[in-house]
């Protein structure tokens, strides 16, 4: 387990900035004097309290399976992939949100894209190809994706037209159970 290098940090922040507005709150000091840091173990990036990260140094790299919140994975080409486990953090600081109706929740959780007919509400002035958090009508985060159309364009779209490309959904907890924490 080690802290991230400068390019790694940049890549991670770059990806997070697609979905979140205010990232400074992520690394802001807490009331008890502690703060959150990013740690890398087995090419997975963890968002963890510094005190916990310091405690975890007593466990060897191989023996350490996970700690804190797993944000995603750094690929061998140097890119960063967000995992579904990062959803609570993303949903808290979301830039754009999309609420889907009950009839659209199941298809989304099974891995399909969001069609216009399933959208209940949508953030105004959302450009296309920007990160969006998908929530149910009860404000429960279901996953995240990338908008296929801007809000204005989506208004003219037919009901079966795709408005959001799925990136990750809560169904992955079951579907990708084996690969989420160990490759």
């Amino acid at each position: 387990m080690r802290p991230l290098t400068e390019p790694e940090t940049k890549v991670v922040f770059d990806k997070l900035a697609n979905y979140c507005t205010d990232l400074k709150t992520l690394i802001a000091p807490l009331d008890d004097g502690d703060r959150y840091v990013f740690r890398l173990n087995h090419s997975r990036v963890y968002y963890v309290r510094l005190s916990l990260a310091n405690l975890a140094t007593s466990i060897s790299r191989d023996a350490l399976l996970s700690l804190g919140t797993c944000l995603g994975k750094l690929t061998k080409t140097g890119k960063f992939r967000l995992h579904i486990t990062a959803l609570p953090i993303l949903a808290e600081h979301a830039r754009y949100k999309m609420w889907i109706k009950e009839n659209g929740a199941q298809p989304f959780l099974y891995g399909s894209n969001v069609v216009k007919a399933h959208v209940g509400r949508w953030s105004e002035d959302c450009p296309e190809h920007s990160g969006v958090i998908v929530l149910s009508m009860n404000d429960i985060p279901l996953g995240f994706g990338v908008t296929a159309r801007s809000t204005a364009e989506a208004r003219r779209l037919d009901p079966t037209g795709v408005v959001c490309f799925r990136q990750s959904d809560c169904g992955e907890y079951l579907r990708d159970e084996d690969n989420l924490f160990a490759s």
């Binding site: 080690r2 802290p3 991230l4 290098t5 400068e6 940090t9 940049k10 922040f13 770059d14 900035a17 697609n18 990232l23 400074k24 690394i27 000091p29 703060r35 840091v37 002035d125 450009p127 296309e128 190809h129 920007s130 801007s150 204005a152």
Partner: protein, 209 residues
């Protein structure tokens, strides 16, 4: 001949006799025969003035040659294409740099990176929004233009339709209505045919007795 000497250091005796302890030294080669006097050979050469040496202040030619030979060119000066070198382009590491990764763990440096990334992302999103708005405006303008054109066309169509209707309402015998002319002709014929029937009086005649 008959006596043998024990020599402790044969090298020292063999070559020390020549004056120097080195095997291939000049003294060993030319030999001074143990008298300690070195005869200078080629005295004429040493006495003759060397052309470059005569003038003071000028560097010797040999010195210049030595200097030239010593010059080492760097890779940039040689102008060798980068791909043609022995070491691949990516492998060469800058000298004097510390080995290993530089971690970012303190809050200040993280905040700096974060601010940079966020500013960049905001800029991107802003430009995307502006672009989208401009495109939307263009689309709106095009749609308005298309609508106006459509209306214009419809109005023209209605006008032509009206004009045709008016033309039909004109009295018969128009130059362009052949069918009308034909119908009129037929009607006249019919009228002619029916007229004698009406004028004829019924007559009953009997054969004369």
């Amino acid at each position: 001949m008959g006596t043998t000497k024990t020599i402790k250091n044969k090298h020292s005796t063999k070559h020390a006799a020549n004056g120097s302890g080195v095997k291939g030294s000049k003294q060993a080669k030319y030999g001074d025969k143990g008298d300690g006097v070195i005869k200078a050979k080629k005295n004429h050469l040493s006495k003759a003035p060397i052309p470059g040496q005569g003038v003071k202040g000028r560097p010797k030619i040999s010195d210049i040659l030595k200097k030239r030979k010593k010059r080492v060119y760097s890779e940039k000066e040689l102008g060798i294409p980068e791909l043609n070198m022995i070491t691949p382009v990516g492998v060469t590491k800058p000298k004097g740099k510390k080995k290993g990764k530089v971690f970012v763990d303190d809050r200040e440096s993280m905040t700096t990176i974060l601010a940079l990334v966020q500013a960049e992302k905001e800029g991107q999103i802003e430009s995307k929004m502006i672009k989208a708005r401009q495109l939307e405006e263009i689309r709106e303008a095009r749609r308005a233009e298309a609508d106006s054109k459509e209306e214009e066309r419809k109005a023209q169509f209605e006008e032509t339709k009206d004009s045709i209707r008016k033309k039909r309402k004109r009295p018969r015998g128009g130059k362009d209505s052949d069918t009308n002319g034909f119908k009129a002709f037929m009607a006249e014929e019919q009228a002619k045919a029916s007229r004698p029937d009406k004028t004829k009086k019924k007559k009953v005649s009997f054969a004369p007795e």
